[in-house]
Symmetry: C2
Subunit: 96 residues, 2 copies
C-alpha cells in the first residue's frame, strides 16, 4: 500500500504543539516527508492498521484533522512535484 | 480528473505571504479545501492544464513546494478522514 498521510494539528496550545511533534515523529518512522505536514508511506495492510491505531491515539479528533489517501500504481506514477522537495528544515517553525 | 493539490509556500518574506494568499485564492476557485494547504479539485484535462499554468505562475520554485496527486475512482472511495473537516478558520494564521 502506498499511503499519503496529511494532517492539520491545532498548535495554539502546548498540548497541540506536543501532538504535532508526536505525529511528525510517528510519520517519520513510517515514511518519507514530502511537505510540512504530508508524508508518503509504503506499508502492508497489517502495518497500516498499526500505524492508523498509533496516529489516532495521538491526534485530538475535536481539534485536529487527519486525512489519509491510498494511492495505486497509476496514481503513484502520475505524482507531480514542482519547486523544492525534501529540503525544508522541518524543525523550524513555519507560519502558513 | 480528481486532483489533490498540496503546497508549502515560504512565508518568511512579504512576497511569500502574498504568494500563499494567491495560491489559496486560486485553489479555492477550483476546488474544495480539506486542510490548511490541501485542496481536492475535480476538473477535466483542459481545465487542469489552465490551473497548472496559473499555479506555476504564482509559486516560487526556488522556495516553495507544490505536489499534485491525480486520484482514480478507487482511491477516491478509500479516502479516510479523521477529526475535524472543513471547519477550520483558514483566514487565521496557523503555526505548524
Amino acid at each position: 500500500m502506498f499511503i499519503l498521510v496529511c494532517y492539520d494539528v491545532e498548535t495554539l496550545t502546548k498540548e497541540g504543539k506536543r501532538r504535532l511533534r508526536k505525529v511528525a515523529k510517528l510519520c517519520e518512522s513510517y515514511g518519507q516527508r514530502v511537505q510540512h505536514s504530508i508524508f508518503e508511506c509504503k506499508m502492508d495492510k497489517a502495518l497500516y492498521l498499526t500505524f492508523e491505531n498509533k496516529i489516532l491515539s495521538i491526534i485530538n479528533i475535536k481539534t485536529d484533522s487527519l486525512r489519509i489517501y491510498i494511492l495505486d500504481e497509476d496514481s503513484i506514477r502520475k505524482i507531480k512535484n514542482f519547486g523544492i522537495a525534501n529540503i525544508i528544515d522541518y524543525e523550524e517553525p513555519l507560519i502558513l
